[in-house]
C-alpha cells in the first residue's frame, strides 16, 4: 500500500511539473491559476455526485439513466425552497426531490419490472416538464424580482472556508494568514504553481463542497467494508444467490436507487445554490449523463469516477476562463501522450505505443501551427479530453454482472 501511494504521489508531482513547464513556456497563467482550480472543483462536484448516484443504483443492479431528470428536480427544489427558507433548506429539499423522482424509478423497475432504460428516459423527459409547470404556477404571476417561468429568484449563498494558515481560512471569525496564496503570488517556478493549485482546491471552498467530497470515501467504506455494502453489491452481481441467503434483494435495490436519487438531487441543489445563485431552466446541461459516463469509465468505483469528474471539471474550467489556456493545454496533452507512449513501449505494447506517439505528434502539430482555436472547439474541450483520456486509460471494465437485468423474486436464474 505504501509503495502504491508513493507512486501516485510521484505521478502527481510529475504532472504538476509538466503543467508548470508548459505554463512557463506559453505564458498562459490560467493553466495553474488559483481561479482555474477553484472553478474546476466547483464544476467537477455535480458530475461526481451524479456519478456516485449512478454507482449506488448500478451496484444494486438497476441502471439509472434517469440521473439527469433527478438532478433537474433537485435544481428546481433548491431554487424554490432556497429562496423561501434559505440555502441549507434548499439543499435538503433538492435531496428530497431527487429521492422522490428516484422512488418512481424504483417502483417501475424493481416492483413492476419495467425496462430500466425506458423508465430512466421517461424520468428524463417528464422532469423538465414538471419543473416548468411548477415554475409557471409559483413564479408566473408573482411579483418576486427575478422570478419567472424559467428561473427562480436568487438564493442566498452558503458560506465558504479554507484550510487555516495554509489557505487563509477563518476560524471563529478570525482570518488566518494565507500561506499558499502568498507563495503562489511569488512567481517561483513549480513551487508557486503547486501552491496556487493547492490554494485553488483548499481555499474559499463552500461548506457544501466539503460535505460532498466527504461522501466519496464514505461511500467507498459503506459499499466495500460494511454488511450493507456487500448486500447491495450482491444484488447487482447475483441477486438469486443473495435472495437464497436471506438477503432482501428488493429492499436493497430500493435503497440503492433511492440513495442514487438523493445524490442526483444533491448534485442539482449544488448546481443551483453553490455553482450558481438560483434555479435556471436547463441548468443541468447533460451533467447527469456525463456523471454516468464518468462512473462507467471509473469502472463502477468511487475513486475512478471522481478522477473522471475531476478531469472534466478541470477542462471545463479552463475553457470557461481562457481560450488561450486551452490552446496551451494542447502542449500538456502532447507531452502526456509522449509519456504514455514510452510507458506502453516499455511494457512491450509496440503498436499501441506507436499510435499514442503519433497522436501526441498530431496534437503537438496542432499546438504549433494553429495559433488560436475556434470558439466551438474550445467549448467542446472538456468533452473531448474526458473521452480521449478515459478511453486511453485502458483498464478492464467490469460492470456488475446483473446490472440492468430485471429481477423477479423466486424466478429462475
Amino acid at each position: 500500500m505504501k509503495s502504491r501511494s508513493m507512486r501516485w504521489s510521484a505521478y502527481g508531482i510529475l504532472g504538476v511539473l509538466v503543467f508548470s513547464l508548459v505554463r512557463a513556456i506559453t505564458g498562459s497563467s490560467d493553466l495553474t491559476s488559483v481561479g482555474t482550480f477553484n472553478a474546476a472543483l466547483l464544476l467537477a462536484i455535480p458530475i461526481a455526485l451524479a456519478g456516485l448516484g449512478g454507482l449506488f443504483s448500478e451496484r444494486a443492479g438497476v441502471v439509472n439513466i434517469g440521473l439527469e431528470g433527478m438532478m433537474v428536480m433537485g435544481t428546481w427544489a433548491a431554487g424554490f425552497w432556497g429562496y423561501q427558507r434559505g440555502p441549507w433548506m434548499g439543499i435538503v429539499m433538492a435531496v428530497i426531490f431527487g429521492t422522490i423522482a428516484a422512488a418512481v424509478h424504483a417502483v417501475a423497475t424493481i416492483s413492476f419490472g419495467v425496462d430500466h432504460v425506458v423508465s430512466g428516459v421517461a424520468i428524463n423527459l417528464i422532469a423538465p416538464g414538471i419543473v416548468r409547470y411548477l415554475s409557471v404556477i409559483v413564479y408566473q404571476d408573482s411579483n418576486i424580482p427575478g422570478a419567472g417561468p424559467t428561473q427562480s429568484p436568487s438564493v442566498q449563498s452558503i458560506g465558504s472556508n479554507g484550510l487555516p494558515f495554509l489557505s487563509g481560512g477563518h476560524v471563529l471569525g478570525w482570518q488566518s494568514p494565507d500561506l499558499l496564496g502568498s507563495i503562489g503570488a511569488k512567481g517561483w517556478f513549480f513551487i508557486s504553481d503547486i501552491s496556487r493549485i493547492l490554494r485553488g482546491l483548499t481555499g474559499d471552498v463552500s461548506y457544501v463542497t466539503m460535505l460532498c467530497l466527504l461522501l466519496f470515501p464514505l461511500s467507498w467504506y459503506l459499499l466495500w467494508r460494511t454488511k450493507f455494502g456487500l448486500r447491495l453489491r450482491s444484488a447487482g452481481e447475483a441477486p438469486v444467490a443473495a435472495e437464497s441467503l436471506g438477503v432482501n434483494v428488493y429492499r436493497v435495490k430500493y435503497i440503492g436507487v433511492l440513495i442514487s436519487g438523493a445524490l442526483a438531487g444533491l448534485a442539482g441543489g449544488f448546481l443551483a445554490i453553490v455553482a450558481s445563485s438560483n434555479y435556471q431552466e436547463g441548468q443541468t446541461g447533460g451533467r447527469g449523463f456525463i456523471g454516468l459516463a464518468a462512473m462507467l469509465f471509473g469502472n463502477w468505483r468511487p475513486g475512478g469516477l471522481l478522477m473522471g469528474s475531476a478531469l472534466f471539471g478541470f477542462s471545463d474550467a479552463l475553457q470557461l476562463r481562457a481560450s488561450d489556456a486551452v490552446h496551451s493545454a494542447l502542449l500538456v496533452i502532447a507531452i502526456g501522450f509522449a509519456v504514455y507512449a514510452v510507458a506502453q513501449w516499455r511494457q512491450g505494447r509496440r503498436v499501441g505505443g506507436a499510435v499514442t506517439l503519433a497522436l501526441g505528434l498530431g496534437v503537438f502539430a496542432l499546438f504549433t501551427y494553429v495559433k488560436e482555436l475556434p470558439g466551438p472547439f474550445v467549448t467542446m474541450t472538456p468533452y473531448v479530453t474526458t473521452l480521449v483520456v478515459l478511453s486511453l486509460a485502458t483498464q478492464r471494465l467490469r460492470m456488475p454482472a446483473k446490472d440492468g437485468v430485471p429481477y423477479r423474486k423466486g424466478g429462475d436464474s
Partner: protein, 502 residues
C-alpha cells in the same frame, strides 16, 4: 436418534400450466442421510425450494422438530437451521470465496465486516470437513469442484442442522465423491440431518439410510436403503422396467475424421492448460475423455471448435482447419454439446424454437439465402421435441421452463439435426434423470453406428466405460493414459486421473 427433524405432509405446489408437486410427503430424522430420488421433472427441486422458503406451497404442512412452520423467505428457513447446497451454483462470480460465504450473515465489528474472523472461521471449517479452499480467491477463477465446496461451506457457515444437497455428486470425480461422503458421515454422526437429492442410485444406496422416491410430483415410496437394489429404485422412479445397454455390434470405420497433432493451449501462468495433445477419432468411433474436472478437458473442446487459440494442427475430414473460424468449423459439420447447458447451449429466457436456431443460423432449414425461415424452424423444433421426447407444451415454451433432462434432450436433438460427422459431447448426461440418460445414450449409439465420430467427455466413469471404444485420461493438460474399456477397471482409471505416471 429417531426423532423427526423435518416432516413434509402432502405438499402441493402449482405453477401456471404445471403441477410440480401433487402430493409430496417426506420424513427425515436426526442423524440420518435421507435420499430423495426421482426423474428430473418429478418435483424434487420444487419441494426442496418449498422447504427452503423460496416458494410457498399451495397446500400441505411443513414441520421442523415437530413444530409446524411456514417459511416466507429463505432467511426464515436458515434461521430454523435449514441449509441448501444448490444444484446450479448460486455464487457471485465477481466476489471472493469469503464474500460469497458470509453474504447474508456477515460478522461485523464496529459496523464494518470482520473479515479476519470470517477468514479464520472458514479456514477452520474447511480443515474440519476436508474442503480445501482459498478464502480470498475470486469465484470466477474457480473450477466446478471448488465452486461446490464454496456452496457447502456457505451452508455449514450458517450452522445449518438440516442440510439439503441438490445433486452434489454430479460434478465430482470418484475421489471427491468419497471425500464428500466422508463429510456427510461426519455430519450424520453429529446428529445433523442430510437430505440428499441424486440420480445416481448406486451412490444413493451407498450413502443414504432411507430413500424417498418421487414420480410425477407424488411420493411413491419410502424405503430403507439396505432393503432395496438400484434396479428396484430405478423402477420405482420410472414406473417401468429399464432398458439395458446392449453391447456394441458394429465396428468403427478406418477413415479418420478428426486428427489432433500436438495441440497446445497456453495458460496464464507457467503451465500450459493443454500440452501437446495428439490423437485421432475415426468415423463411427467414440473416444472417451476421463479426468478430474479442470485438467484441460474444457480447453480441448474449445481448441477443436475454435474458441481457444492453440498451437498444433487440427485435421478434420482431410482438411487442415487449424485457422478456420468457429462458424466455418461448425458449418463444415461439427456438433457441440457444451459442458454447461444453461450458460453455453441455451438462451434460458427464449422459446425453444429460437434456441433451435443457435449455431445453425446460417444453414437450411433455419435460414435460406440469409433469411430466417421462422415457420420452418418452429416446425422443425416440434419435430425435434417429438423425436427426442422433449417434454414441454410446445416450441413456444421458454427453455427455462423445462427440466434439465428435457433441456439436454433438446440440445442433443438440435446438434443431431444437421447430422454432424463429428460430435463434441461434454458431459451430455450431467444432471439428467435415468430416462433421459438412456434416451441420450441411445441417440449417440445410433449416430455412432451410422458413422458419426464422437468425442465424449464425462465425469461419469460408468458412462465412459459403457459408451467409449477407447478411453483417454487427461491430467494437467496432458493425455496421461489410454485405456481399452473392455479391459480396464474403474480403479485403474481413477489412479490414472489423479497420479502422474513418471
Amino acid at each position: 436418534m429417531n426423532e423427526l427433524a423435518v416432516e413434509l405432509r402432502h405438499i402441493v405446489k402449482k405453477f401456471p400450466g404445471v403441477v410440480a408437486n401433487k402430493d409430496v410427503s417426506l420424513k427425515a430424522r436426526r442423524g440420518e442421510v435421507h435420499a430423495l430420488v426421482g426423474e428430473n421433472g418429478a418435483g424434487k427441486s420444487t419441494v426442496m425450494k418449498v422447504l427452503y422458503g423460496m416458494q410457498r406451497p399451495d397446500a400441505g404442512e411443513i414441520l421442523v422438530d415437530g413444530q409446524q412452520v411456514r417459511f416466507r423467505t429463505p432467511a426464515e428457513a436458515i434461521a430454523a437451521g435449514i441449509g441448501m447446497v444448490h444444484q446450479h451454483f448460486m455464487l457471485a462470480d465477481n466476489f471472493t470465496v469469503l464474500e460469497n460465504v458470509i453474504l447474508g450473515s456477515e460478522p461485523t465489528k464496529h459496523g464494518r465486516i470482520d473479515t479476519a474472523a470470517a477468514r479464520a472461521r472458514i479456514l477452520e471449517m474447511a480443515a474440519a470437513y476436508g474442503l480445501d479452499i482459498d478464502p480470498d480467491a475470486m469465484v470466477e477463477n474457480l473450477g466446478v469442484g471448488e465452486r461446490q465446496r464454496v456452496e457447502i461451506l456457505k451452508v455449514l457457515y450458517r450452522g445449518a442442522k438440516i442440510l439439503i444437497f441438490d445433486e452434489p455428486t454430479a460434478v465430482l470425480v470418484p475421489q471427491e465423491v468419497d471425500e464428500l461422503f466422508a463429510a456427510l458421515q461426519g455430519l450424520r454422526a453429529e446428529g445433523l440431518s442430510v437430505i440428499f437429492i441424486s440420480h445416481k442410485l448406486d451412490e444413493v444406496l451407498r450413502v443414504a439410510d432411507n430413500v424417498t422416491v418421487l414420480r410425477h410430483g407424488q411420493t411413491v415410496a419410502e424405503v430403507a436403503a439396505d432393503s432395496v437394489t438400484a434396479q428396484d429404485l430405478a423402477e420405482l422412479m420410472v414406473g417401468a422396467e429399464l432398458p439395458t445397454a446392449p453391447p456394441r455390434s458394429t465396428v468403427p470405420h478406418e477413415r479418420v475424421v478428426l486428427s489432433l497433432q500436438g495441440i497446445t493451449v497456453g495458460g496464464q501462468g507457467t503451465r500450459d492448460l493443454l500440452h501437446d495433445v495428439s490423437f485421432e477419432i475415426r468415423a463411427g468411433e467414440v473416444v472417451g475423455i476421463a479426468g478430474v474436472e479442470g485438467n484441460g478437458q474444457h480447453e480441448l473442446i474449445d481448441a477443436i471448435i475454435g474458441l481457444a487459440p492453440c498451437q498444433g494442427t487440427i485435421v478434420y475430414n482431410g482438411t487442415d482447419i487449424s485457422r478456420f473460424s468457429v462458424a466455418r468449423r461448425r458449418d463444415s459439420g461439427m456438433g457441440l454439446i457444451p459442458e454447461d447447458r444453461q450458460r453455453e447451449a441455451l438462451l434460458m429466457g427464449s422459446a425453444l424454437w429460437e434456441n433451435r436456431m443457435l449455431g445453425h443460423q446460417r444453414s437450411a432449414p433455419v435460414a435460406r439465402h440469409g433469411v430466417l425461415q421462422l415457420k420452418a424452424v418452429k416446425a422443425d423444433a416440434a419435430v425435434i421435441m417429438r423425436e427426442y421426447d422433449v417434454r414441454a407444451p410446445g416450441p413456444e415454451t421458454p427453455a427455462h421452463a423445462l427440466s434439465g433432462g428435457n433441456q439436454q434432450k433438446f440440445i442433443v436433438g438440435r446438434e443431431m439435426s444437421r447430422q454432424p460427422s463429428l460430435l463434441l459431447a461434454s458431459h451430455p448426461t450431467r444432471g439428467v434423470d435415468v430416462g433421459a440418460q438412456a434416451a441420450i445414450w441411445e441417440e449417440l449409439r445410433k449416430a455412432r453406428d451410422a458413422g458419426m465420430a464422437i468425442l465424449l467427455i464425462s465425469a461419469d466413469l460408468e458412462e465412459l466405460m459403457a459408451m467409449s471404444d477407447v478411453i483417454k485420461v487427461m491430467l494437467r493438460g496432458r493425455i496421461s493414459g489410454t485405456f481399452d474399456p473392455q479391459r480396464t477397471t474403474l480403479e485403474q482409471l481413477g489412479v490414472a486421473m489423479t497420479v502422474a505416471s513418471a
